[in-house]
Amino acid sequence: MKGHKSTLLALAIIVTSGVLRLPLEARLEKQLTEHHFREGTPGLDMREQLGQMGFVAAFGGFRSLVASMLDMLAYISFSNSEWGEVDRNYALICRLQPRMEKYWELASWHMAYNAVSYYKNSNPATEQIRQAVKDSLVSDYIERGKSYLQQGLVFLPENANFHRDLAHIFRDKDPNPPKAAEHYRKAFELSQRAHLERNYAYELVKCSEPNRWREAYEILKRHYDLGDRHRSASVIRDLKILEKRLHIPVILRIEEGQ
């Protein structure tokens, strides 16, 4: 009888303490989320993508380790030029650790640069593919590269490197000077790195509006006036273009022969 009493008392303690600790745990959980120690609830579809073991491991406290292992698999797929697999792996990796900047950057780089080069450049492995299909794939992978960085910005809105990389894509892969300029500007505002401001100005020079040229001129002239170390070939080249376009008086122009 005494034994039963103890068992009942033990159960009562577990249940009562369980009910009492729930609000405490919910509060702590909220704080952990605020401090970015929770990466959000995964959809049930992730179980299918990760497989049973991967899912159990990822949510048994080994989420970061699973992401690293998938990263290695993605590296192997990249070495074999299996771009669909690279994409699939990084989509999962980025969902597992969305606050890991490097994963978004790598995913975008693989898509917008490596996969695009694979289909764009002459390559024996893609000789059999029709040019129209290759062009379509190139366009898709550029979009995918942009999409990774845009998704990354949802989780890390203050990340200057994502804006820088988006600007690079709009400069080199999908030319769009106003958009490239916009992202360089944001990257500069977030990081205060001088070369990003210069890149912003270079893209403004490519735009068609005179007010953008004026802004570019002011930026590049300011950099030029900082001294010889800041007078790179690109700064001098664009300043000379802008002096002509904006009809800058000869006396105010930079020295000839530079």
């Binding site: 729930l22 929770r38 609830t41 949510f59 990263d71």
Partner: protein, 303 residues
């Protein structure tokens, strides 16, 4: 609270000294099972992770090293906590040591507390040893990478103060930081909670295997619990049975995800002291609850 024995010596109803003696003898008992050989596997894993995957970027390399180290620490501490605790009482019964101890003026609560403390000492010492090895290898790798990267900047003639500062900051953020120790501490707290649950289980379990299997099941339930709660709050579960099961799980089992700081730390998140203290307090609460229940059950157990 104290009583006087017939010898005239003071008898304490709860003696930290007796608990300590039991804890150290438990630790000796576990160490004699040659458990520390796992460190060889740990070192091999870390050297493999730190020096074999050099084709990855340095950030990936350092992250992989940390992930493998934390993964191994979690796994080893989990095994020590569950298996170490599960074998203790049955082994003492089998060796008849339990009867020898309890025939002396040692209350059962002290016996349980001593045994649990012994397992926690083992987990703590193992984690400390792994932490020292991990920190040393990470520091070494971090410095090698930093020297290489600065060399690359020099070779490319782009070693501007801005670039040097940038590369150094990235490497240091992925290298040795105090937050790594906080993550190791959180692994210890999780193992401590699991050990206390297994101690509770072993007070009424009929076999070691039962305690081990149920211990591992609780480990997975404990991690899935927050997931189930989230689905519950999001309305993913529609049937009343599913909802009831979720509430039942939340009340009965510990939420082990609360002790998971490693993923965030590896991503470079800072750990506020306040948060660490709260996690410690929750772990202490679990330890008290499970120990009180274990003492209640063990006190009435017919041996």
């Amino acid at each position: 609270m104290e009583a006087h024995a017939s010898t005239g010596n003071t008898y304490h109803a709860l003696s930290p000294a007796r608990i300590w003696v039991l804890a150290t003898s438990t630790l000796t008992q576990l160490v004699r099972m040659k458990v520390f050989y796992f460190l060889i596997i740990f070192i091999a894993l870390l050297f493999g992770a730190g020096f074999l995957f050099i084709s990855l970027s340095f950030e990936q390399e350092l992250k992989l090293l940390k992930d493998i180290a934390f993964g191994a620490m979690s796994l080893f501490s989990l095994i020590f906590a569950i298996v170490g605790t599960a074998i203790l009482i049955p082994k003492d019964v089998e060796d008849r040591t339990l009867y020898t101890i309890l025939s002396k003026p040692v209350p059962r609560r002290e016996y349980l507390a001593g045994k649990l403390l012994g397992v926690l000492l083992l987990v703590g010492i193992s984690l400390l040893a792994m932490d020292v090895i991990f920190t040393a290898i990470l520091y070494l790798r971090q410095n090698i990478i930093l020297t290489n990267q600065l060399g690359i900047l020099d070779a490319k003639e782009i070693a501007t103060p801005e670039n040097i500062e940038n590369v150094t900051a990235i490497i240091k953020n992925q290298g040795v930081r105090w937050e790594l120790q906080a993550a190791v501490f959180s692994i210890f707290l999780k193992a401590a909670v699991l050990a206390s649950i297994c101690m509770l289980l072993s007070t009424f379990a009929t076999s070691t295997m039962f305690t081990i299997i149920v211990g591992f099941a609780i480990f997975f339930i404990g991690h899935g619990q927050s997931l189930a709660r989230e689905y519950f709050l999001q309305g993913t579960f529609s049937s009343p049975v599913e909802k009831l099961i979720t509430v039942f799980l939340a009340i009965l089992f510990p939420d082990l995800q609360l002790f998971n700081l490693t993923d965030g730390v590896v991503s470079g998140e800072p750990v506020p002291i306040e948060l660490l203290l709260k996690i410690t307090a929750i772990a202490a609460l679990y330890l008290v609850i499970y120990n009180v229940v274990a003492i209640l059950i063990f006190s009435e157990k017919e041996l």
